[in-house]
Subunit: 659 residues, 3 copies
Amino acid sequence: MSAPRPGLGAVTRGRILFGGDYNPEQWPEVTWHDDVRLMRDAGVNSVTVGVFSWSRLEPRPGVREFGWLDRLMDLLHEHGIGVVLATPTSAPPPWLGRLHPETLPRDADGRVEWWGGRQHFSHSSAVYRRHAAAITEDLAARYAHHPALTLWHINNEYCTADWGDEAAARFRDWLRARHGDLAGLNSAWGTAFWSQGYGDWAEVLPPRHAHYLKNPTQVLDFKRFTSDMLLECYTAERDIVRRHTPGVPVTTNFMPLWAGQDAWRWAEEEDVVSVDLYPDPRDPHGAQHGALVQDMTRSQAGGPWMLMEQAASAVNWRPVNRPKPPGLNRLWSLQAVARGADAVCYFQWRQSRQGAEKFHSGMVGHAGEHGRAFREVGRLGAELARIAPEVTGRHSRADIAVLHDWHAWWASAHEGRLSTRVDHADLLTTWHRALWRAHLATDFAHPEHDLGAYRMVVVPQLYALTDRAVENLVGYVRDGGTLVSGFLTGVADQDDRIREGGMDARLRALFGIRTLHEWWPLETGETATTDAFDGTLWSEEIDKTPDAVAEAVYRGGDLDGLPAVLRTGRAWYLSTLPAPDALRDLLASIARDAGTGPVLAGLPADVEAVRRGDLLFLLHHGRGTVTVEVPGSHRDLLTGTVHTGTVVLGRYGAAVLAP
Amino acid sequence: MSAPRPGLGAVTRGRILFGGDYNPEQWPEVTWHDDVRLMRDAGVNSVTVGVFSWSRLEPRPGVREFGWLDRLMDLLHEHGIGVVLATPTSAPPPWLGRLHPETLPRDADGRVEWWGGRQHFSHSSAVYRRHAAAITEDLAARYAHHPALTLWHINNEYCTADWGDEAAARFRDWLRARHGDLAGLNSAWGTAFWSQGYGDWAEVLPPRHAHYLKNPTQVLDFKRFTSDMLLECYTAERDIVRRHTPGVPVTTNFMPLWAGQDAWRWAEEEDVVSVDLYPDPRDPHGAQHGALVQDMTRSQAGGPWMLMEQAASAVNWRPVNRPKPPGLNRLWSLQAVARGADAVCYFQWRQSRQGAEKFHSGMVGHAGEHGRAFREVGRLGAELARIAPEVTGRHSRADIAVLHDWHAWWASAHEGRLSTRVDHADLLTTWHRALWRAHLATDFAHPEHDLGAYRMVVVPQLYALTDRAVENLVGYVRDGGTLVSGFLTGVADQDDRIREGGMDARLRALFGIRTLHEWWPLETGETATTDAFDGTLWSEEIDKTPDAVAEAVYRGGDLDGLPAVLRTGRAWYLSTLPAPDALRDLLASIARDAGTGPVLAGLPADVEAVRRGDLLFLLHHGRGTVTVEVPGSHRDLLTGTVHTGTVVLGRYGAAVLAP
Amino acid sequence: MSAPRPGLGAVTRGRILFGGDYNPEQWPEVTWHDDVRLMRDAGVNSVTVGVFSWSRLEPRPGVREFGWLDRLMDLLHEHGIGVVLATPTSAPPPWLGRLHPETLPRDADGRVEWWGGRQHFSHSSAVYRRHAAAITEDLAARYAHHPALTLWHINNEYCTADWGDEAAARFRDWLRARHGDLAGLNSAWGTAFWSQGYGDWAEVLPPRHAHYLKNPTQVLDFKRFTSDMLLECYTAERDIVRRHTPGVPVTTNFMPLWAGQDAWRWAEEEDVVSVDLYPDPRDPHGAQHGALVQDMTRSQAGGPWMLMEQAASAVNWRPVNRPKPPGLNRLWSLQAVARGADAVCYFQWRQSRQGAEKFHSGMVGHAGEHGRAFREVGRLGAELARIAPEVTGRHSRADIAVLHDWHAWWASAHEGRLSTRVDHADLLTTWHRALWRAHLATDFAHPEHDLGAYRMVVVPQLYALTDRAVENLVGYVRDGGTLVSGFLTGVADQDDRIREGGMDARLRALFGIRTLHEWWPLETGETATTDAFDGTLWSEEIDKTPDAVAEAVYRGGDLDGLPAVLRTGRAWYLSTLPAPDALRDLLASIARDAGTGPVLAGLPADVEAVRRGDLLFLLHHGRGTVTVEVPGSHRDLLTGTVHTGTVVLGRYGAAVLAP
C-alpha cells in the first residue's frame, strides 16, 4: 500500500504559480542575471527548465554536462524562484538518430521522421527508452535534493506515432494483451470482411498505407496502442523520478482537446494535471475554447490544475498569427484561474532569437522589457499574487456533465464513415458552446464515471460505447437523472462493431426509438427544417415508440412528419444539430427542468461568470463598458473595492468577487 | 473451333436475377437460416458468394477449408437460390503479403500498398498469379458440379496498378510485344525529346515519380499495360473455371466509367457483361449517370447484361453519403431493366456490422427486416418476378451511337495538356446528358466499330484516333451517316503523336477546317459568345474551307467572326461546348435531320422513356404527379392496368407498357 | 590577370538575335532543310542547339555520335544562322540513372526522382559531374572552331535540389566552409533550441522530412548550398568550354524570379546574362511581370541581355494555357528590347509532335507556316532587323533602384513565420507594379551594392540583412539618398537570427522606430484603416521616436492612433501595405521629392514608355486606339514615320522613337 501522492498544493503553497518555460541554454550566462531581475520584477515564482536540453546535458553518448544546470538551479533558488524540472526526452540529440536510426519513427507511408525538428523518437524503440531512462535517472539523482526543485515535468506534449517495424512488434504485444489470441483479434477486427483473417501474429501490422479503406478496428486499436505506448514512456520516466524524490509531484503537459492521448487514462497517472492552451486571439470563440479546455482539465484533475503553457502574445504555427491585444492576456489568465488553475505559466520566458519558434511570443518579447507584452505580464503577476491567498486550492463541481471519451472519438473518425462533415471534437465544442452561452457551468466526465451527482448529463456524440457505459447512462436516467444526447451515440461497441439495429437497443429503448431506418447526413449549407428550429449536419429517419414524445418534428423534405427531437421521460435525443441559438435555448430549458440554471442571472452579452468555491469571477470578453447586476455586496479581490448591486467592467475587464 | 459460349440467358432462364453479394462468413451459421428465409420473402433468386473469402478458404498457405462453403451452397440450393460463385483473388490473405512481399504493389512514389484494406496484389507478380490460380483451380474443381452454381464471377472490380520492379519487367515484355524493338519504342515514345533515348531494355521503367512532366506515351502505354495485365489475371482464372465447367458462363464486374480498364476489350473476354452502379442519390444528374452507364454496358454486352452491384440505400465512400429516399431504389432498378439489365443485384445482402464498409447499406440493413430499405427491396423483388417473363432476353439497339475509347481517354489526360479543365469523362457525360434530355436513345460504340446501322454518330471527344478509326469515321459520313464531333478529336495518333496540322488532315477535310491556328481553352466562368449560344470550356481559332458552313460564329473577343460550329455536308464540328440547353437543342435538331427522334414525343419534365423490344418503360424522376401522353392502349406489366392515351405517374413512379 | 571576357556584343554584332531552341533530332533530316528555309523567311539569325541532346550524342556510355550535329552545324552556317551551342547536361540519358542510381536526386521525403522527365540529376553526384564534364569536353573540342558557334549555353534552367546521402556529404563540406567548425554551425543554426546541438559532422543532414517545424537556418543554408552546388555544376562546364574557346562567351538561362538560384551571384559568372520569360497571356498584370523580369535581368547584366526563351503563343504547364492573341508576341518582344534585350528568342523553333511539351507552342506551330503564329513571327523578325542598328548595345540606368536579395527571400519563407500570406516575391511584384504604374523606371539592386547613383531606393521587404547591407542603407540615406522601406525589413541577420528589438537598431533609428511592440499580420480580406489609405496584409504596433513624422496614422481597431507610415528625414517606413493606387501615389510623390519622375508625362492608360539610350519606346498594352503626346519630333524606327507632338497607337501598338 502506497502513501498518498503529493499534489499541486505541495508546489503552490498558497501562491498561484506564475512563470514559464525557461531555456537559458539559448543565451549567454550574463543574460541569466538579467532574466532573474526581470522575473522578480514580474512576480515570477516558478520556471520550467530543461524541456529541450538533452543535447546540452548529453552532448555525446554517455557524457553528462550538468555544470550549467547546477549554476542555473542555484541562481534561481537564490532569487526565490522554484523550478519545474523537465526530463529532456522529447527531443533526442542528433547523435541518437545517427547511431540508432531505429529510434526514428516512420509514418504510414514509410517515411522516416528525421531529426532537425523535435519529437523524432519512436515510442516503441527499446534503444530510445533506454537512453531516455538513463538521462532521466542521472537528472533525478543529481537534483533530487536541490531546494529549487518543486515539480517534475516529464517529456513534453506527447504526440507521436510510429508505423515502423519495432512499433509493429510492440503493437502485436499490445494486441495479444487486449484480445488474447488471434481468434479474439479476428473477431474484434471483423477480419471475415475483405479476407483479412490473421493466421499468424507475424502477419499483424500497424495500419500502413493501403490501396483502399483500412480496417477500422485495426486503426482504432492502433490509436489506443499509440496512446498506451506514449503512456508507458511517461510512466517509465515518472517511476524513475519518484524513486529519487517521493515527495515531489510529477506531471506531463497535455495539449488541449488533442486526439492522440486518452487523457482520462493519463490523468490517473499524474500527480498534477497540466495543460497547454493557445486560443487564437482572432477567434470570436476563443474564450469559449479556453473555457472548454479549462473545464476538461479541471475535470481530469478533480481539483486545481496547472496552466503549463500559454502565449503572452502571438504564436507562430497558425497560417496568420496575431498578437494578443492589450488586456487579453490578463483576461484569459484570470479565466483559467476562475476555472481552477492554480498556475498561470507561459511558453516561454524569453522569446527565442533563433530556431523554429523565434516568432512565438515570450513573456519577454523581442521588444524586451519595454515591450507592451512584458509590461502586461508584470501587472498580471502582481494581481495574481494579490488574489492567490483566497483563491488557491479551491474547487467547484458543476451540476452538468458533458461526456467525452477518446475511444469514441477515435472510433468515429474512420475514413469510411457516412459523413466526413461529422467530427467528434467539433460537436463537443458546439455543444459546450451552447451551454457556455447559456451560462451553465459544466464539468466533463467519462461515460463510465459515476454520474449520480449531476443534475444533467449531456452527450454531444459518443459513437462507440461499452456495455458498461450504456448501462451507466441507462442507470443514470433510471435514478432520476436528465440525459440529453446527440445523434450517432451508441452506434458501435468498443470494437467498432455496429450495434444491432444501428444503435444500442437499451439506448433506443431509453430514448423511444423503435426503428432507426436511415441516417440522413446533410451537406454543407443544407438544413433540415423542423417545427421548432433548423437543423444542420445530420438528420435521421426514425420510427418512435408510442410512449416517446416528439418534441420537434421535421417539416418538408423526405423526413416530413418524423421526429427530430425525441423525449422519453428525462431522456432526450436530438437526431439533428439545432442551430446555435436553438441548441442553447433547448439545453437551458432542459437544465431548468432538471433543477439547475445559469451561474448568474441577467448577464450582459460577452460577460462570463464563473464560481470557484464561494468566489465569483466576472469576465468581460467584449470591448465596451458593461454593468453587471450582482445581488448583495462583494469585495473585488483584484482591487479591494466593495461592489454593491452592480459591477462595472471595461474592455476585457474582470472582477474576482468575494462575499 | 470452339462451341458457342453460354450467356446470361443460361442463368436467368426467363427470370430477372435478383439478389446480391452474400458474405455469410461474417455471421454465425444460425444467421444463414434467417438469411434464406428473408431471401425467399424478398424474391431473391441469386446470390454472389466468395468474393472476399480467400483467407477463409485458405487460412494458411496450401490449406483448404471448403466445409463452410459446401454447407452454404447446399443450403442455398435447397431454397432455390442460385449461386454466382466468385474467385476470391481480389483480396489475398495476410500470409501472402508476409511470405511474399513482392506480391504487394508499389505506387509511383515507391510506397508499398500493404494488406489491411483490399486489392493489395500486384497484377505482375508471378507468385500472386500462381497462388490465385491454385485457389481458383480447387474452387472450380470442388463446385463444378454443384447444382447451385449458375455463373462464375472472377475477382472483383479489377482496378490496381503497380510501378514496382516485377511490374517493370512485365512492362518491358509488353512493350517488346507492342513496339518490337527499342527503335520502335523510341519512335513511339518520341524519346528524342528531352534526351530519353533508350539503348537497353533494362533502362525502361514504369512512369515513376519524376522531377517534371513525364513522357506522355510512356504514361499512355503504362495505362494500356495495366489494363492488359489485369486482363491477363482475369483470363487466367477464367480459363481455369471454363475447363472445369464449360457450360457455366463467366463474368467479372466492371466499375462504371472507370478509367483503369479498356472495357471494350475486356467485354470480348466475358460470357456475361456485368457492372457495378452507384449514382449519388443527392446528385440531380444521378438518373442520367445511371442511364449512361447502362447504355454503355448494354453496348459492351451486345444484349442483356447484369447489374452486379448497386446499393439498396447509402454507400460509404463519398464525403457525405445519403440514403435512397423511398421509391428511388425501385425506380433506378427499373431504369436498369429498361436499358437491358436481366439481373438486378446489390452489394450486399446483409449490411456488415464490422469492417470498412459497415456503413454501406445492404438489402437487409442495420435496421433489419423492419427497416424501410428491406421492405422496399421485397416489394421490388415481387415486381421484377412479375414482369420478368415479358422482359428478359429482349434487346434494343439505338439509332444514335456515342463514341468512346479508353485509349483516347488515356492519351488525353497527360499532365502537360492545354487545359486541365478538359476531362474526357466529363465531356462524355455532358454530351450524353444532352442526348438524354432530348429523349434520344443512345448506344455507345468504339470508333473502329461498324457504325453503318446508326443514323447519327456523336463524338464528344476522341483526342487520339488510329488511322483505322479516322477512316471509319470518314467512311461513315461518305456512306450517308451524320457525324457530330466535339473539339480535341483526332488531334493525336495511337502513340499520342500530334497529327500534322494539329488535327488529322482527313478529319479537317471532313469538317471543313482549312487551318487550325490555335486552341483557346477557356477559364472557369469564362464563356465564348456566339451568334447562337454561349460556349464554355474551349474555343478555337479556325479558318474554314470555302465549302464549309459556319453554323455558329463567335461574336466579340479575339475570335470575333470566326466559326464556332462548322458543318460540311453531314459532318458537324463544334469548336466549343455549347451551354447545356443549346447542346441539347442542337443535337435534337441534327438528329431530326438525320431521320431519328425522341423515344416518345411530348414527355413532361423529369419523365424518361425507354424502349426495350416492344415494351415502353416510363420512368418518373420527379416527386410530384405527372400525366404522360402515350398514344394507344397499353398494359402496364407492373400492375396489369390497361392505359389508354395517358399514364399518370406519381413520385418516382414507373410503368412498363406492353402493346 | 585574365583578359576581359567577350560579351553579348560579340554575338550580336549590331543585330538583334532572333531565333530559338532548335531540336532537329526530333525530325527527319529532310525537315531540316524546310526549317532553314523558313528560318530565313522569318529572319532567324540564331538558334540554340543541343539543349537536350545527351542521349543522342552519347547513346551508350562513352560512345559519341557527333555526325548529325556536324551536318546540322554546317547546314546552319551555310544559311548564315549562328548557333548557340548547349551542353546537354540538363537531362542525362537513361543509362546514367540505370548504371549509377546515385546520380538520381531524392526529395525531402526520400523519394527518388527517376528519369522519364528531365533534370533528374543530383548536383552533388561525383559520377554525374564526371559524365557531364566528359561530354562537355568532347563537345567543346569538336566544335571549338566551327564557324557557326557564337555562344555557349550551359545546361538549362538549373533548378534541382537533392536531400540524399551524397548531397548530405557535400552539404557538410559546404557548411564547414561557411561556419568553420561545429561551434560555428551550432551558433549560426541556434541549435540550443530543441536540443539540436551537433557533436559530430556526420550528424548534420539536409532538412529532411521532420515531425514538426524544421530548423530555419538549416533550411536557409540548404537553399544557399543548393544554389552554390548548381553554380559549381555550371562553372565546371563553363571552364571547360572557355578553355577550348576563350573568345566565345558563355551563358546559362535563368528562370524569371526563380527562388532556387542567387542570380546576383550567378550573373557574375556569366559572360552573357539570359533569361526565360513566360507571362500568362491571360494575366492582366502580364506586361508588368515582363517588365519586372526585364528590369531585373538588365540589372544583373549591367548592359544588354538575352531573352533566351519566350513562347510564340501558348505554353503547356499552367492549368489553362492560352495562346497569345494577335499582336501580343510582337508587343512583348519589343518590350524586352526596350528594356535592354539584344536577343529575342523562343522555346522552340518547331513545335514538338511528341513528348511532354508537344502543346507548348513553337515559332512554327502545329499549323505550320500558314499558322497565324508563324506569320507574326516572320513579321517581327523583319521589324527587329530594321531597328537593330540603332538599338543594340545601348543601355540605360534608372534613377530608382528596387532592392532584392535571394538570401532575404529564403530566410523570410520559413514555415514557422507569423503570416504565410506574406511572400517575398509577391511583395516585390506589388511594389514594382506600383512604380511601373507610376511610369517610374526602375533598376534592381542588391542591398550591398553601391547605391550612390540612385535618387531613390525602394525596399519592398528584406527580412534578413547583413551588417554590411544595413550600413549600406544607412550610409545611402546619410549621403542624401531617399529610402522607402516596407515592413519586415532588417528583422534578422544573415543566419536568420532575430535582431535585438525585432528589427535592426540602426534601421529603427533611421526610420524613427523607438519600440516595435508587436507585428499584427492581417487576414485575407482584412484591412487596416489609416487616415490616408487602407492597408492590407500587415500592420504594426510601433512607438515612434520624437523626431519621426507619422505620415499616416492607423484609425480604429487595436492600433488606433499609432503610426502607419513613418518618415525621418529622407527615410520612409511603411508598416502596412497600402492599397495599389495609394502605394503608387505615395511612391510617385516621394520620387518627385527625390528629384525624379515618370519616363513621360501624361501617358494614357495602358501605355508604357521606356527609354533605352536616347530612344523612346512606346508600348500600348490595350486594345483600342490611343493618342500619346510626345513633345517634339521623332522618327519611328519601326515604320520610318516622323511623328510630331503625338503618336497614335492601335491595339497592342508600339513605336520606337528616335530623336
